[in-house]
């Protein structure tokens, strides 16, 4: 079943064609990678899918529904969530609060019950804490749960961001350079973690990464971008042999 489909998606900034006619179909349960040299427009693809920029033209279908141009929070509520290249956690809030905020749009109690502290409030708050703690256990972050998120080491902050994204209970998760700034050991750990959560939650994953070992080792299918255009698509083996890709990375 096709989960996410991009049809001729374009994104221009004035005269700059950041993304030009991007087409792809991502099936449920796939793990797809997006690679390309710096400035190829990879992050812009993510920004357009998650509604941070509206597409200049083209369509984005998610579960057969056109989501192009919807505001970001609506898209998250439909089941697409992302992480950021430069970590964007909530630094002065605690680790636990970081996760609980992701449950926000699934809570039902009103502002009034929040103010009056009625049973709905207590029940839902307790449920959220419990779910959040379970998730933190899964990511081995539970020992920090009362620490401010900004005080965590870099690698743990990355993990927290992924955990927070998972807390929105998405169908597909877009990871923007999850291994950036990690050492080799942490990278291997992260690969295992991504595989594990994919199995456990039945997730579809779409990720950008520069770390070739990481991409080749984990992705089932890879897309390559250069200058806003999609230049290749295929299995890791195919991509490694593709002359266009080699040219994009190494030059003529």
């Amino acid at each position: 079943m096709v989960l996410l489909e991009l049809k001729d998606m374009c994104c221009y900034f004035g005269g700059l064609k950041a993304v030009e006619k991007f087409n792809t179909k991502i099936k449920k349960g796939e793990l797809v990678g997006l690679i390309g040299p710096n400035g190829a427009g990879k992050t812009t693809v993510f920004n357009v899918i998650t509604g941070i920029y509206p597409p200049t033209s083209g369509e984005i279908f998610f579960q057969e529904e056109n989501i192009g141009g919807l505001p970001s929070h609506k898209i998250t509520q439909k089941g697409i969530v992302r992480t950021f290249q430069n970590i964007r956690i909530f630094p002065t809030l605690t680790v636990l609060e970081n996760i609980i905020i992701a449950y926000h749009f699934r809570t039902h109690y009103s502002i009034l019950s929040g103010i009056l502290r009625d049973d709905n409030y207590h029940q839902e708050e307790e449920e959220m804490s419990k779910k959040a703690m379970e998730l933190l256990h899964l990511f081995d972050l539970h020992t920090y749960h009362m620490n401010p998120a900004g005080s965590l080491p870099y690698g743990e902050q990355r993990k927290l961001e992924i955990a927070r994204a998972l807390a929105t209970e998405p169908n597909i998760i877009l990871l923007d350079e999850p291994a950036a700034g990690m050492n080799p050991y942490e990278t291997i750990k992260l690969m295992e973690l991504i595989k594990r959560i994919k199995e456990k939650f039945g997730l579809t994953i779409f990720l950008i990464e520069h770390h070739m070992q990481f991409v080749m080792g984990i992705c089932e299918r890879i897309m390559v971008m250069d200058f806003g255009m999609q230049i290749a698509e295929g299995t890791p083996q195919e991509i490694q042999k593709n002359p266009k890709v080699i040219r994009a990375y190494l030059g003529e």
Partner: protein
């Protein structure tokens, strides 16, 4: 309509405006402005119109000099220097005292001496304030410096408003006292009547001095080494440190220049009105000039000039209709402009990079 629909329809209308080509935007804005001006002329006549225009340009010049300082300081350290209006006041008082002295001793060209002296002294005070109160907070949360600026502003007003007889010896020579004082007539006023419009030599002088100072400023910022350093510091302080630019010095000089402009404005203001009400007189011109700077796009020097003249002219026109209206118009224009152009008239709206 529900809340969401209203909010989305408002957003859509704004987007529709954003998408217009530039010339259509300008045509739209000029059409509205012309409509109001035509309305004014039809009610009050063409003569009143030109008279108010002249007065507006004069007021706009006074605002412009303050606003330039605001915008320079904001541009370089992202600080709204609330004490700016009070340094404007300080400049006016200094020139008042020196002016009285010079007039008593029959000096030849008192005005120019007074202007330059007050600019220099006020600039020194401003640089001292920067060293003591703002510099330690440079890499601290931005709002801490803002509150400090408010504190400095309150301190200057209230300190100089102390009455000399209540203050112990060394300080009683410094304070100005709360009462109003007359400003010496440094220049004999001559009024010319051109086609029924009264223009006096002071108005002409103010506009000329403002233009000279603006050109000098533009020259400093664009053509000199220190101007280049200023722009570099405004852009990226860390990179400047690595390039061997002494950012403390650059910031200090920027303060000096910005505040000397405020002092010049204070002197011109005092010359126009012939009196100084109290040491609190800087609050409102300071605020208005700040609004003018925001209107033009804060951090942008031509923007500050444009904003000031728009404000000065619209304020005099509105005041000639009704004094309350004149007071409120600046704020209304600001809100309307920012709703349509969120970064001011000449500012660029940059979306955060994700």
């Amino acid at each position: 309509m529900t809340k969401k629909q209203i909010s989305s329809s408002v957003n859509k209308k704004m987007l529709a405006y954003d998408k217009l080509p530039n010339w259509k935007k300008y045509a739209f804005i000029s059409a509205i402005t012309l409509f109001f001006l035509a309305l004014y002329i039809s009610f009050f006549g063409i003569q009143a119109f030109f008279q108010q225009l002249v007065n507006g340009i004069q007021l706009g010049s006074i605002y412009a000099l303050i606003a330039l300082g605001y915008t320079m300081i904001y541009g370089i350290i992202r600080l709204i220097n609330f004490a700016h209006g009070d340094l404007f006041m300080f400049g006016a008082y200094i020139s008042c005292f020196l002016g009285n002295y010079l007039m008593a001793h029959n000096f030849r060209y008192p005005f120019i001496v007074v202007l330059i002296f007050s600019m220099v002294v006020t600039a020194l005070l401003g640089m001292a304030i920067e060293k003591i109160a703002y510099k330690p907070l440079r890499f601290k949360p931005r709002l801490a410096a803002l509150i400090t600026a408010l504190g400095v502003s309150l301190f200057l007003e209230n300190f100089f408003a102390l009455s000399p007889q209540n203050v112990p010896f060394p300080l009683n020579k410094i304070v100005f006292g709360p009462k109003y004082i007359l400003f010496p007539a440094l220049i004999a006023e001559k009024t010319y009547n051109i086609g029924g419009i009264a223009i006096n030599n002071i108005k002409i002088l103010i506009v000329i001095i403002t233009i000279i100072l603006m050109i000098a400023l533009q020259y400093i910022v664009k053509k000199t080494m220190i101007g280049k350093a200023m722009r570099a510091v405004a852009f990226n302080k860390d990179a400047c440190l690595m390039m061997g630019i002494n950012i403390d010095k650059v910031i200090s000089i920027t303060f000096g220049i910005g505040i000397s402009l405020a002092a010049a404005s204070g002197t011109l203001y005092a010359l126009t009105y012939g009196q100084l009400q109290s040491p609190y007189l800087g609050i409102w011109p300071g605020l208005k000039a700040f609004i003018a700077a925001v209107l033009g796009g804060i951090g942008n020097i031509p923007g500050a000039m444009l904003g000031s003249y728009v404000m000065g002219v619209s304020e005099t026109f509105a005041t000639s209709i009704n004094s309350n209206f004149g007071y409120g118009i600046a704020f209304v224009i600001l809100i309307v402009v920012l709703v349509f152009k969120p970064a001011g008239l000449l500012g660029k709206f940059t979306k955060e990079k994700v």
